[in-house]
Amino acid sequence: MNDIKNRAKPFEFMQCISILKSTAKRAKNLHELRDLIATVSEESIFHHTCQYFLKGRIREYTNDFAHWVGESLEESALAEQLSSIDPYEFKNISELRTALLTVIDNYLENFPEPREALAGEEFYFNETITIVFPARIRARNLAEFLIAIRYIDGASIYYHFHEARTRLGGGIDDFSKWFDEVLGEQDLAKRLWAIDPFMHSIEGIREHIVEIVNEKVKKDMEITGVEE
């Protein structure tokens, strides 16, 4: 049954690039950051939070706002709180924006006069235009998927593992969805779904996926029972 499904719907790897666009808006202190977070476009909020993971490696923070607050304003407590906001937890950018503002407002109530960033270290609000295109790689089964995932560009992993969470909603990624809905591999989908995107770089996520799928492919190849 699974074989028929596999033939019907292979996994088409896509990938994306982002073209950075300046909003020409900049903040030099926390009050200005707060006011601009309240008014900038949704694309800008998306870029500074969700697309942070496209940078390709795990850093001390999990979004650009936390990074700037921690590094340029040296407000470590607020940086920690902003970093703990999971952008994929929200139904839409509007809710995410509210969460960012709530954390900053609470902080400003206790510390109303935070320091200013040095000249040249202001926060620059950007947004992006995303271009999505086929990576020209297709996997028809788990074994092909395993080969592909080892060599695909990191931007493809970002698109299917991170960006999909916003596109599909509910914390679902494209890989788990394909395992579940097309291959009927619910356990594999669950194991993949359990990889925390916050805790790994894109390369770390690649390693985890390879490990999980490799284990499954090896197990499927093993001949069990006693041969006659």
């Binding site: 690039i17 666009k21 300046s22 020409a24 040249g120 620059y124 235009i129 295109f133 990576a135």
Partner: protein
Amino acid sequence: MIAKYAGIAPKGDLILLQKLGEIFREKSFLHINSTRAGGGVAEILQRMIPILRDLGIDARWEIIEGDERFFDITKKIHNALQGNFESITEEMWQYHYEVNKRNAKKLNLEADAVLIHDPQPAPLIEFKVQDYSESDIAPWLWRCHIDVSNPVQEVCDYLRRYCEKYDAAIFSVSKFARAMSIDEFIIPPSIDPLSEKNRDLTEDEIRETLEKYKIPADRPIMLQVSRFDRFKDPIGVIKAYRIVKKYNDCILVLAGSPASDDPEGEIVLNEVREYASNDPDVHILLLPPFSDRDINALQRSATVVLQKSLKEGFGLTVSEAMWKGKPVIGGATGGIPLQIVHGFTGFLVHTSEGAAFRARQFLNNPEMVKKMGERGKEYIRNNFLITRQIRDYLSVWYAIKNNEKSVLEL
């Protein structure tokens, strides 16, 4: 030509370039700047135009011509945009416009997309061929390669009259973008991994350069490649070297090209020579133009590469060294922090003492150097190769044609 980048540039970039090449096949893409040779813009265009043509795009490169007076004025405009006080009179602006008008009569400005580089040819927008293409948008883009984060305001405002007539502007770094009424894209510059400055070299080629410049290969080399310019802080580099020298025997090489268009260059060079005070282990090299292979060899033979700038446009020498697997110690200014991820692909420093400390770490920890160098090379591969820059230019063109929707699927 593009096939040569397979296995070097990220696969996705090459796929997208091919796709965009199909979309813009036989469309004309005109680049205009003010010099055919010398400087980073000419260097990148020399490499970029053949690649665009190989993709099937009818890429052209034209230059505007001007006399000494014109280039004196544009040099002043350039300096003012970088924050040095210069007064540009109405008469000077008028001459800037008139020279562009004369060039507009000679040049064929008809193209499906036009990219004007830097302020010298910016007034050409006044001579845009209206309705060149009836069925399509033929965007005119202004590409600013210089650091305009802290300009002389009057000069910036005057230039804005031209800039805002373009369909969009492109800057290298977010903080260079100004509040304008047009869209502003951020596209960092890039290096070409196949150019003479960056291609792989043999051991013999590297040795040849060291012998040519009488640089001993028996001790580790600390290197800074840059013009002799106070903003590059060559004196600060010597200070750092002197601190390091107390702990590790090493050689310092300061390599730069003669700055014929920069009257201050010679003064700074003399200051540097005097400060080095005949230390036999400090090698101050005045490289002739077209010394790309020698620069390549020096970068490959160095153990510690510095770019200790105090102010910097982008600082592509950082990417050049990182592409060769060398982690770089760089001043935290301009585009350098975009290239160096502190503690991961190199170190950002603010003082000579900081540079010396990081240099000692490199000299005493080859494993760390190796690991950072490998990460740095990958970082450059993914972010600062010429294929990415061409991809971005074509993507901006495509985005403008598609009314800049936030997500575009090819």
